[in-house]
């Protein structure tokens, strides 16, 4: 079936190192969203990308949507302990007559001093 996969599942970095998570869809997406879930919290929306090849930045975070609109990446420069959490991508996958937002498998980031 239609899926949204992310790699890696888990990454442990030292503060100051960079981090990247990759999101891959089995089908073309009209848009891609990214969410962050802090430990013990609920997912919170970060950003949405719509255009092929689009790149958006939020401070140390860089989001990219692939040219084919089937993959996306989130890159964090110089990680901080506040970046700890699980990062999910999500895209609308068609389910018959409806378009359902489907979440990726998530990448859990651990940052230590």
């Amino acid at each position: 079936g239609q899926q949204v996969m992310q790699i890696p599942q888990y990454q442990h970095v030292q503060e100051g190192e960079d981090f990247t998570t990759y999101c891959n869809s089995s089908t073309t997406l009209s848009n891609i969203q990214w969410y962050k879930q802090r430990p013990g919290g609920h997912p919170v929306f970060l950003i949405q990308l719509v255009k092929s090849g689009e790149v958006k930045k939020q401070k140390r975070l860089t989001f990219q949507f692939g040219e084919a609109k089937k993959n996306s990446s989130l890159h964090i420069t110089a990680t901080q302990t506040t970046d700890v959490g699980t990062y999910f991508c999500a895209g609308p996958l068609n389910t018959g007559t409806a378009s359902k937002l489907t979440f990726g498998t998530g990448t859990r980031l651990q940052v230590t001093l």
């Binding site: 969203q33 969410y35 929306f45 409806a98 359902k100 998530g106």
Partner: protein
Amino acid sequence: GAGVSQSPSNKVTEKGKDVELRCDPISGHTALYWYRQRLGQGLEFLIYFQGNSAPDKSGLPSDRFSAERTGESVSTLTIQRTQQEDSAVYLCASSGLPGGPVEQFFGPGTRLTVL
């Protein structure tokens, strides 16, 4: 209210009992989702309501799980004859205010523990 609310925040029940979880979405949101999240795991889709369309129940793990939504307001997720494997955080999210943001807004979740 200002956000999505869920109740109860915590529920401890005995195996075999029924439980009912409630979600109050943001007013005017047409879409409502239920997810299950086991400890350290990702979001497991359960059910999706969109306006007056028939709900997408493809994620419900068994016939012990059911959900209802009253119009475009409150939703309840019912788990009958609970099992220990049902222990998880159940998250509700809503989205789709016409002309508004497209992202999902999540509630704080209900932590269900089945003893």
